[in-house]
Amino acid sequence: MIQKLRQNYRLSNTLSILAFVVAYIFCSWQMLIYACNQAYLQLGFTFVQGSKGAFVVASIFCGGIIGLVLSILVYYAANIALNFAHIYNIPRAEYGMLLRLYFALGLALCGVLKIVNYFTPLFLVWGDVLFPFVSLTVIGWLFYKRTADLYFNSATLPNYFKTCIIAYAVFVVLGVIL
């Protein structure tokens, strides 16, 4: 199965986007429902009135669109970071797909951790801040190790590591600001 996927880039890429979108919805369902609820309250969207099913469908739909956009942005963000670091000797499409897959893993991990939020407001305060941070750190390290093994040697690794750390710090700070 894995071998077949490795021989079919287009299918793998599509599956990685799908995994990303599903993981994003799983990770962000609380926020998505909140956003839909706010839209309902503020804009008078009456189609979701009193219907749990409509709320869930609207949330999944919104999450799907946002996830799709983010999955594309992830690829371009990686390209910008690599260009910024003058790293040109790696297969960009493959690298972007790997990044998307690892992001999907991170979102899934974050989603699992966020389930705790459902039970207590305590972790909604701490979890909202720390769960994404922990997930990003863990998955970021794993992604770095994997790509370092795949594409870089001892001469190019310091530059790549520096790029990864800067990208990670920017991502964390942006996450807090946003």
């Binding site: 490795r6 021989q7 880039y9 793998s12 609380q30 429902i33 909140y34 839909c36 609820n37 706010q38 309902y40 309250l41 503020q42 008078g44 009456t46 979701v48 009135q49 009193g50 219907s51 749990k52 709320f55 869930v56 949330s59 297969p91 493959e94 797909m97 790997l98 459902y118 039970f119 207590t120 407001p121 305590l122 909604l124 305060v125 701490w126 909202d128 801040v129 720390l130 941070f133 750190t137 093994d149 795949l150 594409y151 870089f152 040697n153 001892s154 001469a155 190019t156 690794l157 310091p158 590591f161 520096k162 750390i165 990670y168 710090a169 964390v172 807090v176």
Partner: protein, 400 residues
Amino acid sequence: MKKFLTVLALITVLAVSLATAKVSFAESSAPVEALDFLQQFIDSRSNGGESAFLTDKFNQIENLEVSTVQLQDYDGVAPHNILGKKASYVKTNSQVIIGAHYDTVLNSQGANDNASGITALYLIMQQLQNVDLPFNVVYVAFCCEEDGMLGSQHFVNSFDDYKTFGSIDDTIVMFNLDSIANGDNLYVGCESVSTPLADFVVNSSDGAMTEKPHAIGTNYGEGLLGYSDITTNADYVCFRSVGIPTVNIFSGNFDVVTWSYYERKDGNSTMNTTADTLANLQRDGEYLNKINAVANTVVATLTNDEFLPMANCARSNLVNLKLWYNPLYPLIVMALALIVIVILAIRYHKRLQKDSLLNPAEAKQTDTFFGAPSATDIFSFGNDSTSSSDNADDIFSYKD
């Protein structure tokens, strides 16, 4: 003996009648009066005279000092908050604020949102007008709630301009009455955890209200020390943001499955729509009982002897003062963790640099997913193209 038995029977019947005639809390006051006020207030809206109507009604209440404070011009009009100040029988700066907004969205009667809250406010003023309380009471009809809580924001930001009995610190509790008639259930929302204040109000409601499920899409900190409410953003948020304990009374449903708030299960939700009319509100036969229940609950809460000592402790139960509920603390933890990670990363980077200097750089036999050609495959034309390393000879020398 016959007479005695007759009298005994009469007494028994009377006693049984009294015992069984326990009128429910919601029905104990006169709903007709609430309906009259509600109807008149909605009518006054049709010609833009709601603030004049309210000022007039406030002036009819005994022992109340009425004033208005104008906000700055907004969209060419000059909206204002209407205040009624009722002094305590003791000399004190402590005050309770009871508020409801009197504006509504464009082209809407706003029967539920928030003529119902204003009606309850008026009923409370009526019931308390001749009651001596050990604290001052400030009644406020806020303007511009639908425009982003501008009225309540102005009240909090320009607290001194309103010349109330005390400062923000002297305000022990703020009650907010918003959209209390059309939702299925009446809720009391205080903090994101159960608090003595919420319990107190719920107990005073005689079963008419329940506490908002505090783990469900509810009020948590936003920003560093701020405060917000996810599902029922209303005027009280401005007061809560400056550290005043609040009691938000509203109607609707909380869904524990979808973490959502909605007004009615039957789909007849009207909030912030043109369908928020008195006719639609009257489809729910309980709407007047809900308004009366809210008014009676607030009155019962304030007239309870235990209210003042309990309310004086309410500030200590604000969740953002607690370690576990203040979002500032996890941010500090995250910032510290980030600093540690950066320090470790710098050390690791130095080690990588050292390794790269000590070890000659070697082109790797890459193990890419999709078999991207390696440098060896591209640049080596000789028989030794399977060699794992490239050198200048491999690349630039042509071999036969």
